[in-house]
């Protein structure tokens, strides 16, 4: 019964995540993105469109800001009046940061977005009623809304492209929110296949689509609590910790020379994506 359940598990129901919590076990999916390696080629974005059946909205809607790119390459130009600003261009691949304490989760009126046991920020399309509060409260603005019914819109997937759609992924109807899932369909398929062998996933057995196609290996994806995983080693090398809003290394005198940082971590969403600052100056 609910009251008994409440009383018995009271302490479980009252802790705060991630600061007062045990780490996720056995998986905590996380990423590390090396911006020094990123060339801004947009292959990740294209791969994401293909893998996750993202609607191609067309020029006009794109210009309106109604694009559906779950991962986007942001371009920033230096403001130092140089002759060729392109030389200082910086690229930043931006996708859902799968925050441990996601601002979008608390505000959804119907609970369509939740924190999963493997540390992802899930989105339940069937449950979404389209209040768009999650997007309003997302500091990174990485949630994309189906402004139209794309599956029935012409030229979103031209006839010859329909065969290319990923059967593991549902198509989203109009009026629901969607966002990067860290290719959850691949993670789940991988988990199922190793379950028969009685073990958990090893590093590299699951790759996200963006990671898979990145020509410069800028994107590293993996299980953060697995000490052998690349992502764990990178986070450790950069001394970036998951459950803090200010890294210890930054508080040290003189700051840190390490490149790892998380975007807007002072807002305490505890993002699961670590970026590594660029060291070289020009883009290409």
């Amino acid at each position: 019964m609910s009251v008994t359940n409440l009383l018995e598990n009271w302490s479980d129901f009252r802790h705060k995540h991630p600061v007062e919590d045990v780490p996720h076990d056995p998986y905590k999916w996380a990423m590390s993105i090396d911006m020094d390696a990123c060339t801004g080629c947009n292959a990740c974005s294209v791969a994401c469109y293909a893998e996750n059946n993202l609607p191609v909205v067309g020029k006009e809607k794109y210009a309106h800001g109604q694009a559906m790119h779950w991962i986007r390459i942001e371009r920033y130009w230096p403001e130092d009046d140089r002759e060729f600003p392109d030389q200082g261009a910086q690229f930043l691949p931006m996708m859902c940061q799968q925050c441990e304490a996601a601002p979008c989760e608390t505000v959804c009126p119907v609970g369509a977005t939740n924190h999963t046991a493997d540390g992802l920020n899930s989105q339940i399309y069937n449950r979404c009623i389209g209040s768009r509060y999650c997007s309003a409260n997302c500091p990174f603005k990485v949630r994309y809304f189906n402004w139209y019914d794309y599956p029935t819109t012409e030229n979103v997937w031209p006839a010859e492209m329909v065969q290319q759609l990923n059967p593991d992924i549902t198509l989203r109807s109009k009026g629901v929110m969607e966002k990067c899932t860290f290719c959850i369909q691949r993670i789940r398929a991988g988990e199922r296949s190793v379950k028969n062998e009685g073990r958990i996933l090893r590093d590299g057995e699951v790759q996200t689509a963006c990671q898979q196609v990145c020509p410069t290996n800028a994107i590293t994806f993996g299980n953060l609590i697995d000490p052998d995983s690349k992502v764990h080693q990178k986070w450790k090398a950069q001394r970036v910790e998951l459950d803090v809003d200010e890294q210890v290394k930054d508080k040290e005198e003189g700051g840190s020379e390490l490149r790892g940082y998380r975007i807007l971590e002072e807002l305490r969403p505890y993002p699961s994506v670590m970026y590594m600052e660029r060291v070289r100056e020009s883009a290409i």
């Binding site: 109604q66 608390t106 009623i129 768009r132 009026g175």
Partner: protein, 460 residues
């Protein structure tokens, strides 16, 4: 200035108010037809948006909220003054509220209904609206009780249903009057049904008084909580320009402000359309205007406080949003809102304008334009200049569909309100009787003690 005559015959009160149910001025029908037309436009736009998708409203990422949410706050805010007049002034024994509280309370109810419409219109999947209701189901799925939007739904449901009950309970004695005087047609049946067999017995009045007082006591904290919760939609979020502690009182003040301005507008219209000159007197109007002026200054103060806290808080992002409001694409609206909200009400400070009907009609409408802009300026600029630089410099303008639905909501409100005033007595007959009775008793007492000459009649 002429107030309600104390020696007015009670039978005349009945007659005059009952007449408003039958023969309003021609303007009434003009208003109804215009309202129908305006509402029709809104319905057309909504049908289009419903079938095509919210993209036709021209929203995008990051501008995911637009005029719908702004208008939602506007209509919720409008509802608060009905409660101010009917509940707070009731507890304060301000008897001048009595001829005008009924329509103000109706305004509360109908503007809440309009606000509720915007919640629905705003949703991407309107047809799944019931997901937000906490109904027991075999899958054990519940809405997210942490979401301020759910608090909104709960608060609005509570406020709307309590307001309807409050309006209805306060109207039972008047419905009995209608029942006793109207003997034909569907109206007779309606009033007989709704008056529940009220006969004004001592037992009824005794319980009535306590009940009315109790609900009034509940409604005041409820009204404050409702707009505080609407403010929480923003204050509970993380976004710059929204995440401000002073939002709840600021919203409540803004709500009372726009509501009072709306009461002035509707006062003037009703007074003319239903020939209530003798009951909705200029002296009552003057009190309402003074109240509005006081609230407008409270709002101005809280508004300035909000700017000041942002400015001195060293919150660079919030500061950037404020600067962008004053200089960016929204600047004309932002400055207009400050002008209409804080400068225009100064007109109301002049005695000569406090009873000047054309001036008051214009000013009250302008104030509400200002308050609507205020809500828009709370919602929109944060999206165009939030935390994330990638979202900056992307202007967005609401489409005609979006404007059309906002426009249509005014038709819907007017329609509901005007039909209400035609079907139900919009001036409370029994309370006007109480008012003149108690005033004449007080006058008699004064006469008896011989203080009449010194105290005069200007006590109210």
């Amino acid at each position: 200035m002429k107030d309600i005559r104390e020696d007015i015959a009670w039978a005349k009160i009945n007659n005059d108010v009952l007449k408003s149910l039958e023969s309003p001025r021609k303007l009434f029908w003009v208003i109804i037809i215009c309202a129908l037309g305006v509402f029709g436009i809104g319905v057309g736009c909504e049908v289009y948006q419903y079938s095509t998708g919210l993209g036709v409203a021209n929203m995008d990422n990051p501008h995911v909220w637009g005029l719908y949410i702004a208008s939602f706050i506007f209509w919720i805010g409008m509802s608060h003054s009905g409660t101010l007049l009917s509940a707070i002034l009731h507890l304060m024994h301000a008897d001048w509220r009595k001829p005008i509280y009924r329509f103000a309370e109706a305004m509360t109810t109908f503007s809440l209904m309009t606000a509720g419409l915007f919640v629905a219109v705003h949703l991407g999947r309107l047809w799944q609206l019931y997901y937000a209701l906490p109904y027991p189901n075999e899958r054990g799925i519940w809405p997210n009780f942490q979401s301020p939007l759910l608090w909104d739904a709960m608060a609005i449901f509570t406020y709307l249903s309590s307001s309807i009950l409050f309006l209805y309970v306060g109207m039972i004695p008047d419905l009995a009057i209608c029942r006793d005087n109207i003997h034909t047609g569907w109206r007779k049946k309606l009033y007989t049904l709704l008056s529940l067999g009220w006969e004004g017995t001592d037992r009824l009045w005794r319980n009535f008084r306590v009940t009315y007082l109790t609900i009034a006591c509940f409604l005041i904290p409820l009204a404050v909580s409702v707009h505080s919760i609407v403010a929480s939609d923003f204050a509970m979020s993380q976004q710059p320009g929204w995440h401000i502690t002073s939002f709840p009182p600021y919203f409540v003040a803004g709500a009372l402000y726009s509501g009072c301005a709306a009461i002035i507008t509707l006062f003037i219209i009703l007074r003319y359309v239903f020939k209530f000159e003798e009951y909705m007197t200029l002296s009552i109007l003057k009190k309402t205007v003074r109240l509005t002026f006081a609230i407008s200054m409270v709002w101005t103060y809280l508004n300035l406080i909000e700017y000041a806290t942002v400015w001195y808080s060293h919150d660079e992002v919030a500061k950037a949003v404020l600067l962008q409001k004053a200089t960016g694409p929204y600047a004309p609206f932002w400055w207009m809102m400050n002008f209409l909200g804080s400068i225009v009400p100064l007109v109301l400070a002049f005695k000569r304008f406090q009873t000047h009907i054309p001036v008051l009609l214009t000013v009250s409408l302008l104030l509400n334009v200002g308050m609507w802009l205020e809500r828009w300026m709370i919602v929109a600029p944060t999206f165009s200049h939030g935390y994330y630089p990638w979202t900056w410099d992307h202007d967005q303008w609401p489409s005609l569909v979006q404007w059309g639905i906002v426009f249509g909501s005014f038709g819907w409100f007017t329609l509901l309100f005007m039909v209400f005033c035609k079907v139900f007595p919009s001036v409370s007959m029994y309370e006007v009787k109480e008012m003149v009775y108690h005033r004449s008793q007080a006058t008699k007492k004064l006469e008896a003690t011989g203080k009449m000459a010194t105290a005069g009649k200007g006590a109210h």
